[in-house]
């Protein structure tokens, strides 16, 4: 079964026009040695059977439509207005290519320009690009901007409380580039970014240091005022890169307003479904001074021949299809469709909605946190302690039994309870990371508390 529309008669006529007898003859110039053997694959299906087959597979998943999701750690279960999915289903948008032909691509171009505006304002920066792959690769691109801008290829310092997957991705790339990466974990097994230790190392690094990358909010949900730290980093001649969830900036002061030069990260929380980790939405925003170091596509406003407002891809001389090996990045395909989803999400919610969603996250996370803290130490409860630190909508809970077992118990009660931190560090096997978004109901929060009281 295929989507090839040809009738038998049309095929014959076309073959005749080409001057061959059979389809196979179109490949007569290929050497015999490279011809494909018969494929070892199942037979094709009509859409009726196909749909049933995919439904059968789907029924083996138990997703957040079925489980109460208190799991975050870089992927967040927020309410997405149905209008977002409705709008993104427009064929003009999702079946379009990159808008290289501006005359017939004003729709996507204007949407991306508007998206750039929204992300820049949210991050507290001057400019933002048209999107990157995801949060992990956005950190890599953000750091590469700093490497190029400073011309310092000796050292990158990173906060150990950045998402471990992002740090791992950064390590993969910097290793290939021959740039040293030093990761500084939180002090004493805690959860707040070690700004003190990072600052000391930055001051001592001399001319080698290109940038310091910090998480804000960090992997453990912690937030701290970066402004003094930013001054210190700048004093060392380096740039400050903040790896951030922009959803938080409806209520929190964004890193761009706290002195960060480059703000990058994962914007999935802005209207993109969880979808098992992708496609997500990497973003990067920066000061105007860094715009020519930006990776990937940028949409700019201009005019057409009649002087009417128009939009086009611009500064393409930075990009791979023009600059080849001298490009600022190899990125080509980005996540434009997810950027448009984020646009629709932010447009529907507006400033008030985004603030309100952020406030509800804070209130509900704080509520669960305090309730769980109340349980700590009570007999029979699974909780040992709930450490205190300023956090957005995620926090760490210390458990009596291994977190893995506690989470398995919660799953039996249809609660996706959080992330076992032992996954990344055996010393943290009795710690779990819990996230509460605005979507979690009072009943779900209550069920969580009740479950942990007896686990």
């Amino acid at each position: 079964m295929t989507y090839i529309p040809h009738t038998e008669a049309e095929r014959s006529e076309m073959l005749k026009a080409v001057g061959v007898a059979r389809l196979e003859d179109l490949f007569a110039h290929l050497p015999e040695a490279v011809r494909s053997p018969a494929l070892d694959a199942p037979p094709g299906l009509g859409e009726m059977e196909l749909s049933a087959e995919l439904e059968r597979l789907a029924s083996k998943n138990r997703a957040s439509n079925e489980l109460a999701c208190f799991l975050g750690a870089g992927a967040y279960d927020h309410f997405i207005p149905p209008a977002v999915m409705e709008l993104i289903s427009r064929g003009e948008l999702y079946t379009a290519y990159t808008p290289y032909q501006p005359e017939i691509s004003q729709g996507v171009l204007q949407l991306i320009y508007e998206y750039q505006t929204m992300i820049a304002t949210l991050a507290g920066c001057d400019v933002a690009n048209a999107s990157l792959y995801d949060g992990a690769t956005a950190l890599v691109e953000g750091v590469q901007m700093a490497l190029r801008q400073t011309g310092r290829m000796g050292l990158v310092l990173a906060d150990g409380a950045i998402h471990p997957h992002y740090l791992a991705t950064l390590r993969t790339n910097l290793t290939a580039m021959g740039v040293k990466l030093e990761v500084v974990p939180p002090d004493g097994g805690g959860f707040e970014s070690a700004l003190g230790a990072l600052g000391e190392k930055a001051a001592a690094a001399g001319d080698a240091l290109a940038c310091v990358a910090v998480g804000y909010p960090n992997f453990y949900g912690a937030v701290a005022d970066l402004s003094k730290f930013a001054e210190l980093v700048h004093g060392a001649g380096a740039l400050l890169v903040a790896s951030s969830n922009p959803f938080a900036f409806g209520v929190l002061k964004p890193p761009g307003k706290l002195g960060a030069d480059i703000v990058c990260g994962e914007a999935q929380a802005l209207g993109v479904p969880l979808q098992y980790g992708g496609p997500y939405l990497g973003y990067v925003a920066s000061t105007a001074a860094l715009v020519r170091r930006m990776p990937g596509r940028l949409v700019g406003q201009t005019v057409d021949v009649q002087g009417r407002r128009a939009f086009t891809l611009t500064l393409q001389a930075r990009e791979q299809h023009i600059r080849r090996e001298k490009a600022t990045s190899n990125i080509c395909t980005n996540e434009a469709l997810c950027a448009m989803m984020a646009h629709f999400y932010m447009s529907c919610l507006g400033q008030r909605g985004l603030e309100r969603a952020g406030e509800l996250c804070l209130s509900k996370a704080d509520l669960l946190r305090r309730r769980l803290r109340g349980l700590a130490g009570t007999s029979g409860a699974a909780i040992k302690d709930v450490p205190e630190y300023a956090a957005f909508h995620e926090f760490v809970v210390e458990t009596r039994r291994p977190a893995r077992e506690v989470l398995a118990g919660l799953l039996k009660k249809k609660i996706l309870g959080g992330l076992d931190l032992g996954r990344y560090d055996p010393k943290r096997a009795h710690e779990m990371l819990v996230c509460v978004t605005e979507k979690r109901t009072a009943a779900e929060i209550e069920a969580y508390v009740e479950a942990l009281a007896v686990l």
Partner: protein, 484 residues
Amino acid sequence: MELIFEKNRPGAPDIYFPDETPAGARRADEIVPDALRRNETLDLPSLSELEVVRHVLALCRRQVGIDSTFYPLGSCTMKYNPKINEAVARWPQYASLHPLAPDETAQGTLQALYELERGLAQVTGMDEITLNPLAGAHGELTGLLLIKAWHESRGDAKRRKILVPDAAHGTNPASAAIVGYEVVTIPGTPEGLVDLKGLEAALGDDVAGLMLTNPNTLGLFERDIVKIAKLVHDAGGQLYYDGANLNAILGVARPGDMGFDVVHMNLHKTFSTPHGGGGPGAGPVGVKKHLREFLPIPFVRKDGERYGTSEERPKTIGRIGGFYGNANVLVRAYTYFRKHGRDGLPKVGQHAVLNAAYVLAKLQKTYTRPLGLPCMHEFIIQPTEEMLAKGVRTLHIAKRLIDYGYHPPTIYFPLVVKEAMMIEPTETESKATLDGFVEAMEKIAKEALENPELVIGAPHSSPVGKVDETKAARQLDLRFCACE
């Protein structure tokens, strides 16, 4: 058209969230220290949902996709994006699955990913697949990291060069540079193929590998591919397959059998997942056995009837992204794979070539065909000398196509062919559509000679006319600012 910010009505009511603080909870301002609270307004629009919907639909009228019109964009494989792919990917069981959810709650998705891996290995003739790369260029980066890791594992640290044909996609050299390789361009023959003598001269013990597309970026099959593979391997190098043009040979010939060591695929081309106005894509990478141990993490494994994720790969190049690839793009590709199956996939390659050969057979009567070898899934034509003498260039013809309701082909690529128009119809277009396009091209050819100004001034019917790109770059305006 107005920007959404210019339609702003501050104070428009929110319809999504309750106003009250939840029972027993503190207010946000009681939780966050004042120094960390945003206390500035945002340039976010404040509108009703209906106003937002109308804004977006007005913009849709200024945009074309494959769903709107024939889109023969060479090298981009703009085939039909089947609607069932989209429907499946939106089912909550796939769309609402958390990437860090326990494996036991993700069995359906993991099975789909596992079977897609097996399917892609079959189609490419490779031994192992990683689904991690998030786009084609990301696949290139991954493949080059694998090649680098392999050379280093053999204690061979002197290989600093990657060879790239002069007609290659720009991502090839850009990816090689990021991995720290020096890029060496090798020339092509007048026929449009790799120059074997030039290749031999460039090969040596400092060359890590050769990156190649096949069919190449001129739409021609490298008939000496087996010899090329031998030359590269004999010199100790690795052969990299850029999957940009895989659609031409889908189910017909396999890169693995040609001697390639690493392959990346663009599922947003060959496997019908939507281009999304510039992404998301998915760029899985396939390798031969000797490179398997270096593949990125995580990966899916099968244990009896259970599927699980694993990071146990001691020699891995590491992680290359946040989670496990663009999973919901992969679910769409899996849907496409199951739809076609073993019998359908070869038909895709065959008809992709038939459609291209058919349009070329018609158009070579009115346009110049610079290359004589048989075309594969795409081909290059140029304006004739007579058209050029009238001042009509490729850009003008492309823009005039817009007036006839078509998306233009890829133009001025590859750079090695002057005034190139690269046309790739794909297999999902009917003969009637192709005939209509040919007819429009013939009319434009006539106009170019009889009324060149009409063509040169095109487009005449688009929402905006030719755009001032110089102004865009010189007077940089990348965001709206309410302050003006």
